[in-house]
Amino acid sequence: MPETQTAQKDPVIVVLQLTGGNDYLNTVIPYNNPLYRDNRKAVGIPDNQIMHLDKDYGIPHYMAPLKQFWDDNKLAILHGVGWKESPRSHFRAMDIWHTCEPIKVGTEGWLGRVAREFDPKKENVVTTVSFGPSLPRSLAVPGVPVACVAGPLEKYGFLPTIQGEQRKQVLERFAAMYKPAIGTGPVMDYMADTGIDSLKGEDILKVAPQKYSSTVQYPNTPIARKLKGIAQTHLADLGSRIFYCDHSTFDTHAGQNPGHQNLWTAVTEGVDAFMKDLREHDHADNVILLMFSEFGRRVRDNGSGTDHGAGGVAFVLGEKVKGGHYGEMPSLKPEHLVQGDLNPNMDFRSVYSTILDKWLKLNPAPIVNGTFEQPAFLH
């Protein structure tokens, strides 16, 4: 594990994935554009429920916590994010975001590559911590360890159903059973190492909730619980550099208005609590948070919701973020739409490239598979 002192200063990235395809147009609303109203007869956000960011754009009232970040100049809005041939498939689109491989099926995740750069010798098994049961492909690189926290951080570890006095004893047995033994062969040795590494991860992460205390109250939502886990881990100075979580499902084909409201209320309240928590502990300076979704949604609503689209919006927020609009919203004019969708005008790898280059101090090209323009949203 790296020295605590350096770990504290190392830049950290938190990714919050908005799974399902977030509706760009109801997230950053071009409220003066008559085409917005024309296309959003059923799911448009009424004027009196829009919080204006400036003369062109607003956010729905249910994203209110983001307004403060905007006013403080700590929220970057990345417009028209996507790529040229955006597929309307959740999986394929998400895969492309994860692997930076729009043409073939990629197998290495961009953040997995980042983790490999940070910790090539795999000295810290909690360099990357993902909150959720499955490993997102963006973190997946063979041989790069990721701690996947499926439930509450307090319960992270082997055999969580065995608790109380039995637990310590049983885990000691476990450690003993996984100690390398002579003559059992390379596979058994490998498993022994892996088991012991995981136990180490459990020991390391277990400290986080124990050390944690805060005056910040998180809402009782799945995303807030995940963000709280991230805060606990980050505040414990364990050398974790990459955190991942997601919230779903933004796939608002039907009943969009109440649905989108619930989703963004949960996300923005959670993010707000998270950043407050970090600030309270003077641990906010080295963290940025990226929120993205695999695609935006159709420009025209379907009478109750919106279907899969192309160009979307991403957000980066944090103390060191230079707030403002980056890029511009693609035209809503019918002649500019592609199959009824906003034509993406900012490659998602541009967003990654800025983060890699300016924040994580890594060469972006080998990670995102190419050189892309870098919007300057970081100080």
Binding site: H253, A254, G255, R298, R300, N302, S304, D307, Q339, G340
Partner: protein, 368 residues
């Protein structure tokens, strides 16, 4: 299949479709059963999926013809506690406009007012009197009592509106008056009971007292005809040669799910596994089949297509839209005497298909 079906003095004319695939709001999501309320209201239970998404009851004003449908309300959505569901199944409305819904996972019957406000519920798991095991279809008797198809216990149970146990009939088996995982239920104007005896592939008719009167239907299904288009792995099959290839012979059933009876005594059965509605006369003799004829998009379906130019484009490139006309696992059927309509819940297509029973049909000249 022609839009108008003429058989043995009966004429069924396809009218229109209502619905589209939607987890909530205007549309349906795997309808398990439905019922008609007063004044043209229709209630449907939607099963949803394992993301705990889409399960609810929706209330729809059907109107009298195409394009008149309006979505009114969604209630009984997924969750824990009063007014929430896990697996909504059967539904019925009583004379006070109260709505009864069964939940075949929590083994309860919940009651709502016509606006969808929760009133009360009853039921607990078990096989004793008043206990339930995967309750399915519901029906309201003239006296206001509720008949519950207690499917896992292979019996019918009768309750007062407050949930007091009144009586039961049935038992496990394939004999007369016995059931094997029954699904839907309906009553005729005399209070006779018709049950879709799902795993026995038949319909049973019982007296209002629960005495066995009649059964009809026997198991039958066809294998995929050569060269046909399988709309799903389990049919329906759209064959090039004949529109009825891929459907078994009249009178056979494959997991029937629901029954309706019209004022003339004709009986409609959703032949779920065979993707059709079988019409029987009052003696249980097969008359004709309806296989789905949705050649015109529903109002809400058209809205979806209008919002999605790529879907609209693809539809124009399709060689034949016929697979879309057909029923796919129809789960429920109702007859609305006010409009002389046969209303079919086309479950896997998330819509209703509505046929009119035409009584004053005069034939045209054959040499047109």
């Amino acid at each position: 299949m022609p839009l108008t079906t003429v058989q043995e003095g009966r004429v069924y004319d396809w009218s229109h479709a209502v619905g589209r695939n939607a987890a909530r709001g205007p549309g349906f999501n795997y309808v398990q059963s439905m019922c008609l309320g007063k004044n043209g209201f229709l209630y449907a239970t939607n099963r949803g999926n394992e993301n705990n998404f889409g399960m609810h009851v929706n209330k729809v004003q059907l109107g009298r013809g195409p394009g008149e449908e309006e979505h009114i309300a969604d209630f009984f959505e997924y969750g824990e506690g009063d007014g929430k569901c896990t697996w909504p199944f059967g539904i019925a409305v009583d004379d006070n406009y109260d709505v009864y819904v069964s939940d075949d996972w929590t083994n309860t019957i919940s009651v709502f007012d016509s606006a969808g406000n929760f009133l009360r519920k009853w039921g607990k798991p078990g096989s004793g009197d008043g206990e339930l095991n995967r309750p399915a279809g519901l029906a309201v008797e003239k006296n206001g009592n509720i008949i519950v198809v207690d499917s896992g216990n292979n019996r019918l149970q009768v309750f007062k509106p407050d949930g007091t146990f009144v009586g039961k009939c049935g038992g496990t088996g394939s004999g007369d008056g016995q059931f094997n995982q029954p699904w839907g239920i309906t009553l005729d104007k005399d209070g006779n009971i018709y049950v879709a005896d799902w795993k026995n592939h038949r319909v049973q008719k019982l007296s209002p007292e629960g005495k066995f009167l009649m059964k009809f239907g026997q198991y039958g299904k066809v294998e995929e005809p050569e060269g046909s288009y399988a709309v799903t792995m389990f049919g329906p099959y759209v064959a090039a040669q004949s529109e009825t290839a891929g459907y078994p012979k009249p009178g056979t059933l494959n997991h029937p799910t629901d029954v309706a009876v019209d004022p003339d005594g004709d009986i409609y059965v959703t032949d779920w596994g065979n993707h059709r509605v079988c019409v029987f006369d009052s003696e249980g003799r097969p008359i004709c089949n309806l296989i789905g004829d949705a050649q015109v998009l529903s109002k809400w379906g058209q809205q979806t297509v209008d919002a999605n130019p790529d879907m609209a484009k693809a539809r124009r490139r399709v060689k034949s839209l016929e697979p879309q006309y057909r029923f796919c696992f129809p789960t429920a059927v109702e007859f609305d005497p006010a409009t002389d309509s046969v209303i079919v819940a086309d479950s896997q297509r998330n819509r209703l298909q509505i046929y009119k029973k035409v009584r004053d049909y005069s034939d045209f000249q054959a040499n047109l």
